[in-house]
């Protein structure tokens, strides 16, 4: 299922190599002129590892396509990543390490906390733009975060897309939010409520779960009492959604369950087993297997990786693509690769075709790409299938 499996020989080889590394470590790699560096604080381990591994592969694959095709004006993009275990201090450490060894123009950050923490440093350096795994509402503010962007809608915009869909399906519906007690989980709750009010939806319950909790029986009981028509999960990757949904269904609850970007991976939803059928959520990209329309980029991905790739992979892939596009536009304009120029290049993207990965041509006027589509899980096809048109906010 994942590609992290190791056999003993590999582990032994690693240990032996480590012994070798103890001597003669040279931290400062020689800088090759012309190479553009994409640095990354990537959560390859920890609670966000599932997404991180996909992101890591997605960035690598896009850069491979790009570099094999000659790079940007003959300049290749080099990817330098460090694992962060989804911890802010480790991310900062990785940032410091990578930026002290390379001349970094692009950076991928792994969490909302990191994106906010490193922002003053980004402004101070002024030499790079950053995107990342965070779709936090707060980051979607070009004034406060002038050198950052996100390759999709922010969390509140995701809630907006979901709530808009709900309001259309069932005006005045009862809606419950279930979110984790983390910054990620809490992000869209308050603005989401405001949006719901605007749409005349009724928020009947907000349930917060401790991070990493697995036993949700009491929370399910609480949800049943609130009896919502729609339940939106946010701030999780997998656990405890499957158990939540399974128990709720056993109790005879009829609520429609929904998720936001990071819970929407096909394999994640599949692992909900019986609970998966009908699970809905918002997704800015196409899935690996989507066949509708012309999607040349997906064809390429499917050629490179015959097996299913996660939405985290798509996110990494698209992020790398948008970054590369910003570099290309900056170089085309004959400008230097500074943060401000790169961001200006990025913001000049208008009705841009991502090879079909976003279902519609996109523009990036600010820090986000407020586009998405509602998908619904089909138990027979074992796939998330589109349930709405592409919604542009």
């Amino acid at each position: 299922m994942t590609d992290t499996q190791l056999n003993r020989r590999q582990v032994l080889a690693g240990t032996a190599a480590l012994a070798g590394m103890a001597f003669g470590v040279s931290p400062l790699a020689a800088q090759e002129t012309g190479e553009i560096v994409l640095g990354g604080s990537i959560p390859l381990t920890g609670v966000f590892a599932f997404a991180g591994i996909g992101i890591h592969a997605g960035i690598q694959d896009y850069l491979k396509i790009l570099n094999d095709g000659g790079g940007i004006k003959g300049r290749k993009i080099k990817y330098v990543a460090e694992d962060t275990a989804y911890k802010v201090d480790a991310s900062v450490a990785a940032f410091n390490k990578i930026t002290s060894q390379e001349k970094v123009s692009l950076y991928y950050g792994d969490s909302t906390g990191f994106s906010k923490t490193i922002n003053p440093e980004l402004d101070r350096r002024g030499s790079m733009i950053m995107a990342g795994a965070s779709f936090a509402t707060e980051l979607n503010d070009p004034k406060k975060f002038p050198l950052q962007f996100m390759a999709g809608p922010d969390y509140t915009e995701m809630f907006g897309i979901l709530l808009r869909y709900i309001a259309k399906e069932k005006p005045g519906a009862r809606v419950a939010f279930v979110y984790s007690d983390t910054e990620f989980g809490r992000d869209p709750i308050v603005p989401g409520e405001a949006v719901a009010k605007e749409l005349k939806l009724n928020i009947v319950e907000k349930i917060v779960t401790p991070p990493g909790s697995v036993d949700v029986s009491t929370e399910v009981l609480k949800l049943r009492r609130a009896n919502p028509d729609f339940t939106i999960f946010h701030g999780y990757v997998l656990a405890p959604i499957p158990e939540f949904v399974a128990q709720a269904k056993q109790m005879g609850m009829k609520s429609q369950f929904m998720g936001t970007f990071w819970t929407m991976d096909n394999s994640t939803v599949q692992r909900m087993d019986a609970a998966a059928d009908g699970f809905m959520g918002v997704m800015p990209y196409r899935y690996y297997y989507d066949k509708d329309g012309s999607v040349p980029m997906l064809e390429k991905i499917r050629q490179m990786r015959p097996e299913y790739q996660s939405t985290g992979y798509m996110q990494g892939f698209v992020t790398a693509m948008l970054m590369a596009e910003a570099v290309k536009r900056t170089l085309d304009a004959g400008k230097e690769l500074t943060g401000a120029n790169l961001k200006a290049g990025l913001n000049s993207i208008k009705d841009f075709d991502t090879g079909g990965l976003f279902g519609v041509p996109i523009s990036i006027p600010g820090n986000s790409v407020p586009v998405g589509r509602i998908y619904r899980f089909d138990a027979k096809a074992k796939q998330m299938l589109p349930a709405s048109d592409w919604i542009k906010l």
Partner: protein, 346 residues
């Protein structure tokens, strides 16, 4: 070569550094520490600062666990008290950073005393669990209190001295390294005093110590206070170093890290705390180098890094406890002893 040392006064016997060779080495080391920032890359400076912070905290824990025999799994939580205090002071009041550091450390010491109160009634594991409980409660407090920024934590401006901003590894080094050196020296000196000897007596057998006239409550709480003071100061340095404090910055596993550091280094020796903290900080970095170096041959090396790091962390604890219970300090002592008589006896 050194055959033996002759001491002619009690003062000489009690001295921290008892031979001219040792003093010479120390001067060399100090010169090295001063020269280091001018030759090292920012990354190595970054690591040096991180090591220094960990040394400070580990030394504090060593006073509590290694010298007084009270196990604490709350060192990281005490650090978080210092870090949050510094961050709040810096953001809200903008007071001078040295004052902030001291207030943070003092606050941590007060919390340490509170947590230490059960130590009179309970010992060993029960006490360790009480410190875990304190960590959980502090974590909850920090992640739900608006003053400490709730789950998102606080990002703070850098320290500044007379308008000069201290925000680069190079400048931070000059803040962190001297403070750590002072703290370590302070700890070494403390152990030569009545207080230090009382700690050791309590560690060796607390009831005997009480019979000998050492007030247990007072000294146990003193030990907690000093240890958390160290942790708080280290936490404050940490805050100035990373300039962000979140509830997840000081997880329980960091407390285990410090305990592991003094075990690997050698419990109950000042040198052990230093060696252990430096060693445990550098091992993951070495593993990172190995992984980066392996990536061309084996692309998934980076993904395998974290589990390997966890295994190595556990393996070091277990390995040292079984095969070298007195830690790196003991290995160092053996090496030194070898050279004392070298080349006449090997």
């Amino acid at each position: 070569m050194r055959i033996g040392t002759l001491k002619t006064s009690y003062g000489a016997d009690e001295a921290l550094f008892d031979s001219s060779v040792q003093r010479g080495l120390l001067v060399l080391l100090a010169l090295g520490a001063v020269a280091f920032p001018f030759v090292a890359s920012p990354y190595w400076l970054f690591l040096a600062c991180l090591c220094a912070i960990n040394v400070a905290s580990a030394t504090g824990l060593n006073l509590l666990t290694g010298y007084t025999g009270l196990v604490s799994l709350g060192q990281a939580a005490f650090m978080s008290v210092g870090a949050y205090a510094v961050a709040v002071l810096e953001i809200r009041l903008g007071t001078p950073f040295l004052l902030n550091l001291l207030i943070g450390a003092a606050l941590a010491a007060v919390i340490g005393i509170l947590v230490g109160i059960p130590s009179l009634r309970v010992k060993g594991l029960y006490l360790a669990i009480a410190t875990i409980a304190a960590s959980v409660i502090l974590h909850f407090l920090f992640s739900h209190w608006s003053l400490t920024g709730e789950a998102r934590g606080l990002s703070m401006p850098p320290a500044s001295l007379f308008g000069y901003v201290i925000d680069q590894p190079f400048t931070l080094y000059w803040l962190i390294m001297p403070v750590t050196c002072l703290m370590v020296l302070g700890a070494a000196n403390l152990l030569r005093t009545r207080i230090g000897r009382a700690f050791i007596a309590i560690r060796d057998r607390d009831i005997s110590a009480e019979v000998l006239g050492i007030p247990l409550l007072r000294y146990k709480l003193t030990s907690f206070a000093i240890s958390s003071f160290y942790a708080g100061l280290a936490g404050g340095l940490w805050a100035y170093f990373f300039r962000v404090v979140t509830p997840e910055s000081f997880p329980l596993v960091n407390s285990i890290f410090y305990l592991a550091a003094i075990i690997v280094g050698g419990m109950g020796t000042i040198l052990g705390g230093i060696l252990g903290a430096v060693f445990m900080t550098l091992v993951p970095e070495l593993l990172k180098f190995a992984a980066n170096w392996l990536t061309p041959i084996y692309p998934d090396a980076l993904a395998a890094l974290a589990p390997v790091r966890t295994i190595v962390f556990g393996g070091l604890i277990v390995g040292f406890l079984i095969f070298e219970p007195r830690g790196l300090a003991e290995i160092w002592r053996r090496v030194r002893r070898f050279f004392h008589l070298w080349p006449f006896r090997t």
